[in-house]
Amino acid sequence: MRVPLSWLHRSVDPGLSAEQLASTLTLGGLVVEAIHRPTAGTRGVVVARVEAIGPVPSSKLSLVDVYDGREHHEIVCGASNFAVGDLVPAALPGATLPGAVRIERRTIRNVVSNGMLASARELGVGDDHRGIWVLEADAPLGADLSEWLELDDAVLDLEINPDRGYALSIFGVAHDVAALTGAELRLPELPSLPLGTATGVPVSIADPDRCPRFSLTRIEGVAVGPSPAWLQRRLAAAGMRPISNVVDATNHAMLETGHPVHAYDLVRLAGARIDVRQAATGETVVTLDGVQRALDPGDLVIADASGPVGLAGVMGGASTEVDETTTDVLLEVAAFSPTAVLRTARRLKLFTEASSRFEKTVPPQTVLRGAARCAALLTHVAGGRIIATDDVWPQPAAREVIRLRTDRVRRHLGMDLPDQRQAELLESIECRVEPSAQVAEGGRALEPNEGLLAVTPPDYRPDLRIEVDLDEEIARLHGYEQIPERVPCSGRAGGRRPAHAARRRVREALAGAGWTEAITFPFIGPNDLDALGLPPDDPRRQTVALVNPLSQEESRLRTSLLPGLLRALRRNVNRQAADVAMFEVGAVFLPPTPQEPGADGGADGITLPAEPLLLGLAACGHFEALRHDRPARPADLADLLGAADTARRAVGLPLLEVAAGTEPGYHPGRTARLSLEGTAIGVVGELHPRTIAALQLPARTHAGELRLDLLTAEGVRLAAAVVPDARPPLRFDVAVLIAADVPAAAVEAAVREGAGPSLSECRLFDVFTGPQLGEGRKSLAYALRLEAGDGALNEIDEQAAITSIEQAVARRVDGRLRRDDSAGAAAQDQRR
């Protein structure tokens, strides 16, 4: 809503600058987005009369002699839309136009031009540039145009919230300005309309819920022509294009009162009747913008005997449009339900000045104000006579009284506002406030201090319906800035749920371990799962689809983090970042199962997908930070296993069990399945060369996905402290000779079993293969530490432990301990 201040000031003038008023309104709930001065800076332009029009030799130009009441000026002009005797704006030498355009005396085709005759557009008034702006015949000769038309006017651009439809009008804004500043409100006197059915056009309303009130005002004998300059200027400042005096009068009334007004050319209305009804299937209407629109039975239309002549509350029809031949008009001012108008506007994507007002509720009670303002202005600028106004209001409704408990207001706002102050604030926006009968709702006896006010909101405020609506009015009129700051006491410690807290530790631990956290959009396309190599029966193929996706490539909810994460990895690689290690924590979306149900779908029992939380990992290039003094090491499976271990350690869980496995999309020999205390947790590994090729990833890209929800289900597990024994531990090494295909985890498990409960550390320090071991053999060397809680250990204990380990290794993995000292000695250096 654009509010020219000069217009507002006719109703209320608080004596504030545009900037001060903007700040007051913004803090009062009408947000001023911008302050424009579209025609400011016009200087030296006067109203002049055309005295003579002569030719400029060898051109299409004219030399126009104009008189400004004091002297004559000869001005060269290219337009020819005016005649001798017309009054026009003349910009004399030294004049400035909006946009700091400066007019000087200059010579055109050897003829001196003493200024310029201006079009409406050159003056910033409308967009008409087909010719010179011909002013009305009674324009004041010689007047300074800027003073006469208030061209330095500031225009406030307001953003109006859905509940403040009243502020889509100058009068509505004036009400708030008066209430917020205390300035006197002087709304113009409204002429009374001759009510009755003498319009000769009977009205029927089929559905009073969707059209509670409909008025028609018949005016005869109008002369359609351009509006006077002040009206054109005012509408242009408010953001509307001046069209003709009749149409401009309807727009002026709408901007002023908030009531959209539509003018019909009476003779073009077929059958002299108006029906407000729903459209019939197959009906069409050509709207004022010249577009033929197919109607839907949900549309509310205005129809004459020939069929629809307008979309109720949205746009009038072309067939009954007012034009320069019109002499008799019918003015429609009505109230339509917001939902009816919004439905049609949305369906046709036709959002107009009228629909924007109706969708924010135009109250039926004030319909005749719009009609009266429009009729008065229309007859003033276009002549004619008001014949009658037919006001059809099947179920007149008065505003309901709201019971306001002033003590509740004080408690609710946390402000000590006496009853008297509350009443004054509400009265400042024209509420009627009376002390109420001393019985509260439900017949409950009142508390001694509990005052009760009976508040009748004014007709122009349909948004005030229930008690809390008045809270907001009281608070904003008193000033939100007056509200004190108080911090409530919840009475309990706040924080995170255990799983949430655990997840944060996992994220922070991974970031500390060199992984970068990504957040990708959780959408996938149909091809993404093919690229991952998932077989047709893979459960991740059961995706949840979107009805209106952002794009076809984002048409499903992800069932794996990998498509998004690998896309992010590839994008970085394409941007010359060779070394990437990223993780993402996020939900995937699966059709619910009894084991994995979705969230509660509410009373309607709607089924929602399961949203398990996963940890995704993706890495390529070098994992460690590059440094000049050591060789770069590419990321490998151990880095991914390290990330998994970092995650489990962050939440205090025991070591994850690791086993070789296969997984679609992964390298069959370089994929590890992880489990926690027997429950499968996820997979990490090198991606299959086919996956890498399909996704155009760097060679040896690694990835993984873990069930973070399972890892964090019980929060952070508190560790039982291990208090070290003060006596020295027993340290020794064992090297296990074993078949090459036995997993390290099995060997370690055997060593641990053999070493018994006093083992406190078992660390693999060497993996060795070589001809001296024999074909298909390998040696795994472990550094062991044994600590007994009950005393020092000696060489006898060491020998017993080695014997026991030897037996366990033989029994469980068919291995034996190596005894040759040379191999052991070679490994010594690495161990220490």
Partner: protein
């Protein structure tokens, strides 16, 4: 028992004087010292002969050995001081390295600034006694709109360009399942699951059917807070918001409230924050007192309980905290962007 002639320690003093003087490094000095007074040194050898001497000679030679030992120690000490000084001056200087070579660090990782911001926001709210809870990203129309006092025809739905989801159960009506447009549904879920008091902060991912540009993302994050208790007022809302702002933007931050409209709160307020690092008022969030209809829908009695709620865009807070001006930075996952955190 034949008497061996008593060994003579004094020549060792001269030898020591020469050898210490000849030592050109601390290592050579140590070697010279060892050969003279070490366990296998010459003076120690002399000392061993004492056992074969009679009492008088033993006392005499013993005293002389001690005198020589003390003198040697003195000489060695003098020479050591010289050589140590020389070592400090020459050798350590020669061992100099370029200390401006890069540090040896572990690989640098980072948290996503959006999650880092959520962490910071939840920390502040947790300190104010709020518990962080999270809800599903796929929601029902009822929880997302209707329970929020946004019925099917409500004009506010025009502000939510919703991404709808094919119901996982084909028997559910079309349009009944969607990607949540705000984190507010968790308000109702929490209130339905428990009675007052409620003090929750709901961070999470939200969705709108929008094209990504500098100021819009189809996938973004919000944190919504709700407090419902006996006697909560607009002043409690204001105080909570002021604390949150100071927690996020520093002790110099302030707030300013303006009337606004939300279907689920009344009165409603838009909140501007004075962010010291920006040096201006910036629009931060929407807030208000919970609408009685929302309380009723959750089975609470608006006459018994009152509450406040506010919701803010996490991206917006992150932008203000880190000086980011294009929302797409958050969705790009570019390592160069992350390296600044």
């Amino acid at each position: 028992m034949s008497q061996a002639p008593p060994a003579n320690p004094e020549p060792l003093l001269d030898e020591g004087r020469e050898r210490f003087a000849a030592a050109s490094s601390l290592d050579e000095l140590d070697a010279a010292k060892a050969s003279l007074v070490g366990r296998r040194g010459a003076l120690t050898a002399v000392q061993r002969t004492l056992g074969g001497l009679d009492e008088r000679q033993r006392r005499d030679v013993g005293a002389r050995i001690n005198a020589v030992r003390a003198a040697l120690a003195e000489l060695e000490e003098q020479r050591r001081a010289v050589l140590t000084e020389e070592r400090d001056r020459v050798v350590l200087a020669a061992e100099a390295v370029d200390v401006t070579l890069p540090a040896r660090t572990a690989r640098r990782g980072s948290l996503h600034p959006i999650h880092e911001t959520i962490d910071a926001m939840v920390d502040v709210m947790a300190n104010l006694g709020f518990t962080a809870v999270e809800g599903p990203e796929v929601e029902t129309d009822w929880f997302n709109f209707q329970a929020m006092n946004i019925p099917v025809d409500h004009p506010a739905r025009g502000m939510h360009d919703t991404i709808y989801v094919q119901p996982p159960n084909p028997a559910d009506p079309p349009g009944s399942v969607l990607l949540r447009t705000h984190t507010s549904p968790m308000q109702t879920r929490t209130m339905l699951a428990q009675g007052p008091p409620v003090y929750i902060a709901v961070p999470g991912r939200t969705y709108r059917q929008e094209t990504a540009d500098a100021t819009h993302l189809p996938v973004f994050h919000q944190m919504e807070c709700l407090a419902v208790d006996e006697g909560l007022s607009f002043a409690d809302l204001r105080g909570t918001l002021a604390e949150l702002c100071r927690g996020l933007f520093g002790p110099g931050a302030r707030i300013r409230m303006r009337p606004d409209h939300y279907p689920f709160t009344e009165p409603s307020a838009d909140v501007d924050a004075w962010v010291p690092a920006v040096g201006d008022w910036v629009e931060l969030l929407g807030s208000g007192m919970v609408h009685p209809n929302v309380l009723r829908m959750a089975g609470y009695d608006p006459e018994q309980s009152s509450g406040f709620a506010f919701g803010m865009g996490v991206e917006r807070v992150a932008m203000l905290r880190h000086g980011i001006d294009d929302l797409r930075s958050f969705a790009d996952n570019d390592l160069r962007f992350f390296s600044s955190f």
